[in-house]
């Protein structure tokens, strides 16, 4: 029983009832905080697991995509300047959405396709098949990257409220154990 946490109170029946009600309120608040911190921890763990899986998959996909670039260059020659010069609008775009977990909003990225493929006829005279495969591989890589970005941005987003709510919870439980 530390000295400075004492509440000065006049010892009457009314004061006791009021104190009991206050105690109940504090306990409910503490339980809610615990629930919030549990939900956030769960979400946190899920995100972490997915991040690890996605990163492993990313390594594989990027390797595959880089190799298909080498294959395409073998058959079609050097098309890199043509591709870079003809860049205008993006075909794959990202939408940011909000997801609500126990009162905390986390950002989620979602990709969508828009417009036609402006490189449809590249490699018409040689290497078209390899170029199609290359486009597919890199599209897969981009989708994975979007997913990874989404996970990694919601990671600190869930971490901070988790820390705050778990700190508040610990402070509350300290108070309760004293009172």
């Amino acid at each position: 029983m530390s000295g400075k946490d004492r509440i000065e109170i006049f010892p009457s029946r009314m004061a006791q009832t009021i104190m009991k009600a206050r105690l109940k309120g504090a306990q409910t608040g503490r339980n809610l905080l615990k629930k919030k911190s549990d939900a956030l921890t769960l979400r946190f763990r899920q995100i972490l697991k997915k991040i690890i899986e996605t990163k492993m998959l990313m390594g594989e996909v990027m390797r595959e995509a880089a190799f298909s670039l080498a294959e395409a260059k073998f058959t079609a020659g050097d098309f890199s300047t043509t591709v870079i010069q003809n860049v205008n609008k993006a075909q794959v775009k990202i939408r940011a959405k909000k997801d609500n977990v126990a009162g905390v909003t986390l950002p989620v990225f979602e990709h969508y396709h828009e417009g036609t493929d402006s490189y449809e006829l590249t490699g018409l005279a040689r290497g078209g098949e390899q170029l199609a495969k290359l486009k597919r591989n890199y599209a897969k890589a981009v989708e994975l990257l979007v997913e990874l970005a989404s996970l990694q941005s919601s990671f600190p987003g869930s971490n901070v409220p988790l820390l705050i709510s778990s700190q508040s919870w610990m402070r509350e439980s300290e108070k309760n154990s004293i009172g």
Partner: protein, 351 residues
């Protein structure tokens, strides 16, 4: 009857033919390729290449060695040899060389046109142009605003002018898709080259015409294959087929109607030369693709060109074989540097 080819060829072109045969003897052999495939790093590749005719071409490169550096240096070496041949040639061999460079010029012109339209700096694009396709008016490209201006001001002086005139009028130059333009130019170029060789007659025609016919038919097949599933209409497709091959005219008409690979195969079955090629195509992953089969056939024909003497085809064949060798080395180097060795043996063997 060889109309004096044996008698007069060596007067003008004997030295260069001797030189190109010497260069051909220095192409990498199967043993060299086996050694390269067994390398673990790009440094090993460099060491192996030092024992071949490439010698110390990578000696001045700073670390780390990358595949693109190897590619650039090899290309510089080929250009030096080609320029040497070209500078020492007399007519009509010089015209032959000009025709050979036209294909690279077409690629460069397309790049420049694209860059000028997108208002990119000319200096950057000039660096990316293929060195064999250089022509004197290249730097003047940025004065033009639209493709028609470009044509009137700059391209009309180059050897490419007749190819532009063949395919279209100036007005359509603006709207045309860049890839369609490239393929149309290439079609006119191929037909003009074929005519030149045929008119020259002699052994050159005997060697070059089948090679160019094969190139024309190969383009027709590949364009058809790659246009399945795109928005390229059948009529548009037909305008891209070069007409100087064996497929002209019935084969091309049938190809234009084809809608999938099997129909294309049936067209090829009518021609004795192409039937075995299509049969060699594997299906899906693992087997050879049609393009691989065509590359092998091209290499075969180019090697056979060296069996005859007194013709210009040796120069064409040597350049193409050297380019294939460059592609092979880059392929092996990429497989080594990306540590993805499963397909390292899918290079095209030459000798």
């Amino acid at each position: 009857m060889l109309e004096g080819a044996e008698l007069y060829f060596n007067v003008d072109h004997g030295y260069l033919e001797g030189l190109v045969r010497g260069c051909k003897a220095s192409l990498l052999t199967q043993q060299d390729y086996i050694n390269l495939v067994q390398c673990e790093t790009l440094e090993d590749v460099k060491i192996h290449l030092q024992t071949t005719d490439y010698g110390n071409f990578l000696a001045n490169q700073t670390n780390p060695l990358t595949v693109s550096k190897i590619d650039t240096e090899m290309r510089k070496k080929l250009c030096r040899e080609f320029e040497y041949f070209r500078n020492h040639s007399l007519e009509p061999l010089s015209t032959f060389f000009t025709y050979m460079t036209c294909s690279y010029m077409i690629d460069n012109v397309i790049l420049l046109m694209n860059g000028a339209l997108q208002k990119k700096s000319v200096k950057e694009i000039l660096v990316k142009c293929h060195p064999l396709g250089r022509f004197t008016e290249m730097e003047a490209v940025n004065i033009a605003e639209t493709p028609s201006d470009l044509f009137n001001a700059v391209l009309v002086e180059t050897p490419l002018a007749p190819f532009f005139q063949d395919c279209m009028s100036e007005n359509t130059l603006d709207e045309l898709n860049i890839e369609l333009l490239r393929n149309k130019l290439y079609k006119s170029y191929l037909e003009a080259f074929y005519k030149f060789c045929k008119n020259h007659g002699d052994v050159t025609a005997e060697i070059m015409c089948p090679i160019l016919e094969f190139e024309a038919d190969r383009r027709a097949f590949i364009i058809t294959l790659n246009s399945f599933g795109t928005e390229l209409s059948k009529d548009d497709r037909e305008t891209l087929y070069p007409t100087c091959g064996k497929l002209y005219p019935e084969g091309l008409r049938l190809l234009a109607q084809a809608e999938d690979f099997d129909q294309m195969r049936r067209v090829a079955d009518h021609y004795g030369v192409y039937k075995p090629l299509f049969e060699a195509v594997g299906d899906g992953n693992g087997g050879k693709t049609l393009e691989d089969v065509f590359y092998e056939r091209e290499v075969q024909m180019n090697v056979l060109a060296f069996n005859r003497q007194f013709h210009y085809g040796v120069f064409y064949a040597y350049t193409k074989l050297k380019e294939q060798e460059m592609r092979n080395i880059v392929w092996i180097a990429e497989c080594i540097s990306q540590r993805h060795r499963t397909k390292i043996n899918s290079y095209i063997p030459i000798l």
